[in-house]
Amino acid sequence: MANRVLTGTRFVHGDWACAEGAISAGCGYYAAYPITPATEIAERIAQRFPVLGGKFIQFEDEIGAIASVIGASFSGLKAMTATSGPGVSLMLENIGLAVMTEAPCVIVNVMRGGPSTGQPTMGAQGDVMQCRWGMHGDVETIALAPQSVQEMYDLTVEAFNLSEAYRTPVFLLSDANIGHLYERLTIPREEELTLVDRKRPTLPPSEYLPYRADESLVPPMASFGDGYRFYSTGLTHDEKGYPDMSVETQDKLVRRLCDKIRRNTDKITMVETLMTDDCEVLVVAYGIAARSAATAVKQARERGLKAGLLRLVSLWPFPDKLLEKMAEDAKAVIVAEMNYGQLVREVERAVKPKPVRFLPKLGENPHTPGEILEAIRRIDA
């Protein structure tokens, strides 16, 4: 039997790292439809899974892929799909089903330029709001944004852990630049990995209520075939899982689904800071754009400008309080993202009334450090 965890250091691309991250995390089911720039994840999985006993299937479309991922998740497997923006657009209804029925799963979006078919081979960060607000109804989602090949691996593992812990779909928001980037990747030894598995029911089947949660708000999850004979529906449901159209049940269910994530915002949030202790200009960035921002902040410091970087590693749930606190002593905040204004709205809301300068970027290349440095300089002037 081949090794599951390919411990060691290699020079690989981001999609490859993502696939290996999934395998290391214990992913047992992968379904997808080919799409640039995420296809290489499927190719790697298709190569590796038969040897490991994982189930890979290429679907007729992204809707089928995500629906089957939810089926596999309820069958007891850690399951994922990978796609790009157009694919996520097709998946949204069923991602809502995963939210509603509390199916742990991972959705990788290797973002490309949009809207519509846009720029298939070129990176962008235009789907940040899609994964937060794309589904109908009230939802909370978790999204992580890797900035390197190493993080494509690390955060894929983390995405699985969060999805299992909170019984919810988790997005890995990468982009074409990172998906296709070649860098050094170090995969740890298997025993160094921390892996989380969903909470299983401890009650006998006769007492098990599939949607009754304790104070964690996350109900224990039985799998098909375990003997619990549960029923699950995308309709508003009570603790038994039965459809219930009452106002009370809708209120209770939607609050619990959202609060299980909202209340854990501090626990879920992952950020990295660079010279923020005394900064007067706080730069906020994520993903590939944060790499330019880090260089820009260092260059600013060399020029005596008190700049700092807050890199958001997790984007959703949005860490409002953290932003507010970090911006407290700053004169202004700069947001650099590869779109025409998405996460900047959240930052503005969180740091109000602090002035926020937005640096949009459209079309493949991330901001240059020079562009961000120039913005820092202007604020300082």
Binding site: V51, S68, L97, R229, F230, Y242
Partner: protein, 272 residues
């Protein structure tokens, strides 16, 4: 349903959810009865069956069966079931859904699940319309039928479901009606024991929607299923269907081909 009453099917149904939501005379209750009675007669382990459905009236069927069960999104019962069938080949995966769910919004998944020969039984209730939304025309509505969205008569050609599924690669294909309860139950029993993509179309009256539109009572609709049907052993392409004159019913296909899961397991054995 009171607790003290012991129903002969109470082990197989979620008795606390009865009476079900379906209208008086709706054939879905008969399909459900046939399904659980087939399970009972085969003495199958209820822990090892998963019942999946899509959206619409038929989509509610999964909620009354005392197996693991899942009510998916519209049209997506088959890919959801594919995920189960591949992940847990030890379980019997059954889809119960309607003609609109399986052949309109979910039509692409249907032909591909049949093509792959995914091991599952699909029971399709065909009532010739979209019942739950108010009897609009759908992929099976006969030409010239007046419905709320075809007030001048439907101008679309309907699918012949058994012909479509058979040509897509299904290894068991039958068509029965809810009047033919013994044939239907036997077909379901066969499908439950079959390895491979098995498909049973069940002609079923939509008494409130389609029936009222066509000025037919539930009993008249059932009589029609008795009088206008002909049991024949024909090629699925010849299993014609015209609800107002003649519907060919029967078991049309029963062949054995390697399933997706079996081929995958062979591939895994070789890869190792």
């Amino acid at each position: 349903m009171t607790e003290e009453m012991k129903h002969p099917l109470s082990d197989y149904l979620r008795m606390d959810r009865l009476p079900h939501i379906w209208c008086a005379g709706c054939g879905l209750g008969i399909i459900l009865h046939s399904y659980v009675e087939a399970i009972q007669e085969l003495s199958m382990d209820l822990d090892k069956i998963v019942t999946v459905s899509g959206i619409g009236c038929a989509g509610r069927a999964s909620g009354y069966v005392n197996t693991d069960a899942f009510h998916t999104t519209h049209g997506r019962a088959l890919p959801f079931a594919t995920g189960i069938s591949i992940s847990r080949p030890d379980l019997k995966t059954v889809v119960i859904s309607g003609d609109g769910d399986l052949f309109a919004i979910g039509g692409n998944h249907l032909i591909h699940a049949a093509r792959r020969n995914v091991d599952m039984l699909v029971i399709c209730s065909n009532n010739f319309n979209y019942g739950m939304t108010g009897a609009q025309y759908g992929p099976t509505t006969p030409l010239n039928t007046r419905t709320p969205t075809s007030p001048y008569g439907s101008i679309e050609n309907p699918f012949n479901l058994v012909a479509l599924v058979a040509s897509s690669g299904a290894t068991m294909v039958s068509r029965w009606t809810v009047y033919h309860v013994y044939h239907l139950k036997n077909a379901i029993k066969k499908g439950l024991q079959k390895k491979g993509f098995s498909f049973i179309e069940v002609i079923s009256p939509c008494t409130t929607g389609f029936g009222r539109l066509n000025k037919q009572t539930p009993i008249e609709m059932m009589r029609q299923l008795r009088d206008n049907t002909k049991i024949m052993k024909v090629h699925p392409m010849e299993a014609t269907i015209d609800p107002s004159t003649e519907i060919i019913i029967g078991d049309f296909v029963d062949v054995r081909k390697p399933t997706y899961g079996e081929i995958l397991r062979e591939l895994e054995a070789k890869a190792r």
